[in-house]
């Protein structure tokens, strides 16, 4: 029983971490039809912001607050310099952002070296859950992820900005005709998505080794989560991450992490093939 509980906790942890990364991705993809391959590197920049703040003598919490702002700003620049030029060429957005991801990753290698860094864990205590110690910081990450989900849903379903954004998702031309400044909306959305990636990187930094390769490890599960869940709906990444993260944790416990990865990927490919609009597309329609 306790083991099952800890397993569920582990799974929720992984799921919410994926959601944290996938949320920004799905917002950018849903609104602008841009597959942002550089999202993993925005995540990376978030983590390195914290490293930089700590190196300068600042506290972790300050870094956590600063990371989304810094990475959001980077997102704004990237959108202006690169992404907006390829909006109308869908597949090229994948390539352009992939090139960016190589460049950003290499810039990080040049600035910080290829070795991994560690970030101090700000809440290094554990609490007993059913007699098993569980790190408090992991619970904190889950809380942050839930907060991000809540804020994002509030933003998109309860504000004027969200209404305009959903209007653009449904029909971009019509929204533009009705006087919505789609250009400004694109910019804001990309920056918001990037800021979420930065926040995710910063919040995950204490429990990961911060190195230039850390982005890719999260990018692919996040992508699969979106495709499995469905990119057309904000609930998509939640469902997809639950499917991906749940399967992964279960298979990793039953067999091994390698088998888990293969099982997850195979499952994702089959689901994507059978339900191209994702689980959310199948269940909620659009």
């Amino acid at each position: 029983m306790e083991q099952l509980f800890i397993l569920t906790l582990d799974a929720s942890n992984f799921i919410l971490a994926i959601v944290l990364v996938a949320m920004g991705l799905v917002i950018i993809f849903g609104l602008m039809n841009v597959i942002n391959m550089a999202h993993g590197e925005l995540f990376l920049l978030g983590a390195y912001t914290v490293v930089l703040v700590e190196r300068a003598g600042g506290h972790f919490w300050f870094g956590l607050l600063l990371a989304p702002l810094v990475v959001g700003l980077v997102g704004l620049v990237v959108e202006e310099l690169v992404v907006r030029h390829v909006y109308h060429r869908f597949l090229d957005t994948i390539l352009a952002t992939w090139g960016l991801s190589i460049a950003i990753k290499q810039a990080v290698v040049i600035a910080f070296g290829p070795a991994s860094h560690t970030v101090t864990n700000p809440i290094a205590t554990s609490i007993e859950i059913f007699g098993t110690p569980y790190p408090v910081y992991r619970l904190f990450i889950m809380a942050v992820a839930l907060l991000v989900i809540a804020v994002t849903f509030w933003l998109f379903f309860r504000t004027a900005f969200g209404l305009a954004a959903r209007g653009v998702i449904a029909n971009r031309d019509m929204a533009a005709c009705l006087g919505i400044n789609t250009r400004r909306l694109d910019r804001a959305t990309f920056a918001y998505g990037a800021a979420l990636a930065g926040l995710a990187g910063a919040v995950m930094a204490p429990i990961m080794s911060v190195d230039p390769q850390m982005g890719l490890g999260f990018l692919i599960p996040a992508f699969l989560a979106i495709l499995v869940g469905g990119a057309g709906h904000l609930a998509g990444p939640l469902l997809g991450a639950a499917a991906i993260g749940g399967t992964d944790t279960l298979a990793a416990n039953l067999w091994s992490p390698v088998v888990a990865q293969i099982v997850v990927f195979t499952m994702a490919i089959v689901v994507i093939r059978l339900f191209p609009r994702g689980l959310a597309g199948r269940w909620f329609g659009r």
């Binding site: 869908f90 992939w98 460049a103 992508f223 699969l224 490919i269």
Partner: protein, 338 residues
């Protein structure tokens, strides 16, 4: 092609292949060997140019086929295939190296293209995932050497059942590779210029419309994907005979994205441009990675972005296009990038 004077494209082709045929005269043995290796990458790049540039399938896992080809060739020539230990023949290896990836691509394509079908970005992400899985599998499969891969893969041999003269010196390797690459280039060029090739590009530009014209778009994509995988497998087979090893990175994600960069920088819609793109990037890497160090990859990434944004035809493709495009007012054959 007009009858009056040789077309600029033909002249460019003659110039490129002529220079490549004569290049060993002015190069040292080591450089000749290097160039022969770049040809292999170029062959690999052409396979992606067919699949992506002509058919519009942005494949992030082309190295899977390259790797399967490489491993197949290695297993056969090392005599590790049960029942075929006695015949470590290069011919048999090449046969396996072409048919296995092609067969795998065919099965995969049947699964991905038919029915509801997988579009653009989804195809890219799925192939990316397959590349990651394939690399993990190769690392954990001890029969094919696990993380270390297969060592001491023999060079090409002429004997029908293995043995016979080894093609080992840089000069014979160079001309063998060049001949092979040139032959495949001619075949693919003929394919893309045929009616079949026109339909492929029609699917790339507008799949729905082409479907309404009555073409079996899924079938066309399937054959192109299969042929591309076969060519990539062939490139993998040549690779292992040149480098004498096969290891998990051959089948993985990184090489898949590298070939994308070569093809994008060279020119995705022209086989020749893609081929030259691979050679260009590899030689630049060779020269610049020493002087620029870490900055080389940064520069390559930015150059790649710049090329995607500003020159969708690729850098070499753009030059060839400028040289061969009809003068103002007439829309050329390759006038519109995808």
């Amino acid at each position: 092609m007009t009858g009056r004077s040789p077309s600029p494209l033909l002249l460019i082709n003659l110039a490129v292949w002529g220079v490549l045929a004569l290049a060993p005269l002015g190069l040292g043995a080591w450089q000749v060997g290097q160039l022969a290796q770049y040809f292999t990458y170029g062959l690999f790049a052409m396979s992606l140019a067919l699949v992506w540039g002509h058919c519009g399938l942005l494949c992030f896992g082309q190295a899977v086929f390259f790797g399967i080809g490489g491993y197949a060739m290695s297993l056969v020539t090392l005599g590790m295939i049960p029942g075929l230990e006695a015949a470590p023949s290069s011919y048999l290896g090449i046969l396996f190296a072409v048919l296995l990836p092609a067969g795998f691509a065919n099965l995969l394509g049947r699964f991905l293209f038919y029915g509801k079908g997988l579009q653009g970005a989804y195809f890219a992400i799925v192939t990316l995932a397959i590349a990651v899985v394939a690399e993990r599998l190769a690392i954990n499969w001890t029969y094919i050497g696990g993380l270390n891969g297969l060592m001491n893969v023999p060079p090409m041999t002429l004997g029908l059942l293995g043995g016979g003269a080894e093609i080992w010196d840089s000069m014979p390797v160079y001309y063998l590779t060049l001949t092979l690459v040139f032959a495949v280039y001619l075949l693919l060029e003929a394919l893309t210029r045929s009616r079949y090739g026109i339909v492929l590009r029609a699917i790339r530009d507008n799949q729905e419309r082409t479907g309404y014209f009555g073409y079996d778009t899924a079938g066309y994509k399937l054959t192109a994907f299969t042929i591309g995988a076969g060519v990539a497998g062939l490139a993998g087979a040549v690779f292992v005979t040149q480098f004498n090893f096969a290891s998990p990175p051959l089948i993985g994600f990184t090489l898949s994205t590298e070939v994308l960069i070569w093809v994008a920088l060279g020119g995705r819609t022209m086989l020749l441009a893609a081929f030259l793109g691979a050679i260009l990037v590899r030689s630049m890497e060779n020269v610049l990675s020493e002087t620029l160090g870490n900055y080389w990859l940064l520069a390559l990434g930015l150059l790649f972005v710049l090329s995607v944004v500003l020159f969708p035809r690729g850098l070499i493709g753009e030059i060839i296009h400028r040289l061969t495009a009809p003068r103002r007012g007439v829309v050329g054959r390759n006038a519109k990038p995808p």
